[in-house]
Symmetry: C2
Subunit: 258 residues, 2 copies
Amino acid sequence: MVRVVPTKTADPGVPAGYDPSRFPAFAVTVDMVILTMSDSRLNVLLVRRGVAPFKGMWAIPGGFKRPTETLDEAAKRELAQETGVDSTSLLTQFGAYGDPGRDPRMNVVTVAYLAVLRDVGAVVAGTDAAAAALVPVSQALNGKIELAFDHAQIVRDAVERVRYDLELTGIATAFVGPTFTIAELRAVYEAVWGVHLDGANFRRSVVTEDGWVIPTGRRARPGAPGGKPAELYRAGRMWKYSSPIRRSQPNERGKGGS
Amino acid sequence: MVRVVPTKTADPGVPAGYDPSRFPAFAVTVDMVILTMSDSRLNVLLVRRGVAPFKGMWAIPGGFKRPTETLDEAAKRELAQETGVDSTSLLTQFGAYGDPGRDPRMNVVTVAYLAVLRDVGAVVAGTDAAAAALVPVSQALNGKIELAFDHAQIVRDAVERVRYDLELTGIATAFVGPTFTIAELRAVYEAVWGVHLDGANFRRSVVTEDGWVIPTGRRARPGAPGGKPAELYRAGRMWKYSSPIRRSQPNERGKGGS
DNA sequence: CCAAAAGTGTTATGTCTACACCCATGA
DNA sequence: TCATGGGTGTAGACATAACACTTTTGG
């Protein structure tokens, strides 16, 4: 019969004669990359660690999985605990990380989740203000802000995933509120992909009769210098399946000899 | 300090007063969905379990992760052990599964990998013939062949992943050999997506000057009833980044009232 | 020379992009 | 009435799909 053995038993590398009837014990955690749009930029929610290891460093929120819950449930529970948000089905699992030594204390395998939220700002204020912050992903990726564990890699992978999902799923609508303007939605694509999109063409792709966006009749207040108030829309059913916008791949093609 | 505790300690559900300073121990495994083309169909490699639980049932190959190796290394090692194949970088992690009770013996979280191989047939013959088999994925998915654990779901997710990757990566070339005909390559897309592709248009998309395929000068032997021998190509560098073929989405659009 | 499958040409249709232009509104 | 951004029209470039047609081989 298979039996749990303490980590130390398997600690000294076991190259050839590995006995599969005994296996090492791991801790399993879920970590969440919580992304949000703010000021037309992509931001990630970070918490400051209060305990060793990496005490005082920034990290993404997470916690231990319990044996009585699924991985998705663990992520949902942790998200609620850390941010107070109880939104179903905007959590996407995107990777597992188990490099030896990634946690100096013990063997930890973490399953990483991606959550796209709007208005985390209020949530951050609710938690211990000094312990949580929204920072631009650019700062977390270029090393300006150093992250604990292998969280920099996890954030990098999450952003890469979002870039794909933006084209393949309706994740874009998770960045905006229940009602939004076309420009707001366009800002999401522009920020995540780092491109400029023609406003006219973007509009035509999105406001069709297919059910991408549905006009509410209400209008948004224009900014300080005036301007025409934009129509407010809500997301239609089409977002369940895909996205109306495709990323125009940078023309790698058409580069013959010359 | 954090301490490992045996599984049973946390077994009786701990709803509210959960103590994060103690955490449950898990076993961590890697499972592999090994896909291959055979007879113009998509097949998956299954092994017959020799021990309880699910003794005698079909399952996908896998094994325990060791603390001294990364998840990727564990998958690579298991792949080599099970099939004798030592190909780097065709293993893709695509999901983690940790539902309570998925393994009746203990708490197990498994990290699932996808491997696309050509010519597993010889490998299968090498292993204990009665213990391994290639079966069409359709049979594994529609329940014709019942799989152990939650492996049916894992295979389902793997196939779904391949369908996406076929459009986004160069995974198609992993299904064919070092040299291949255009028709062979087209069969991959047709089998995985379950569509018919115009041979003429497919050819035009693939045999360009961009470096998708490179002619070898040699030709394949035609089938029994004769026919023009097809040119043999090898994969070019373009496959590193993407695929020359995009899946034409079934026109969900353009369905007004009427 | 006939069947079969590879490979080419051609054209209609649809989609994307750039950019000129009009519109509605708050100050 | 002016500045500002929302919103519309349109023509060219480009990509796709359909299918008729030619070529090359083994029997």
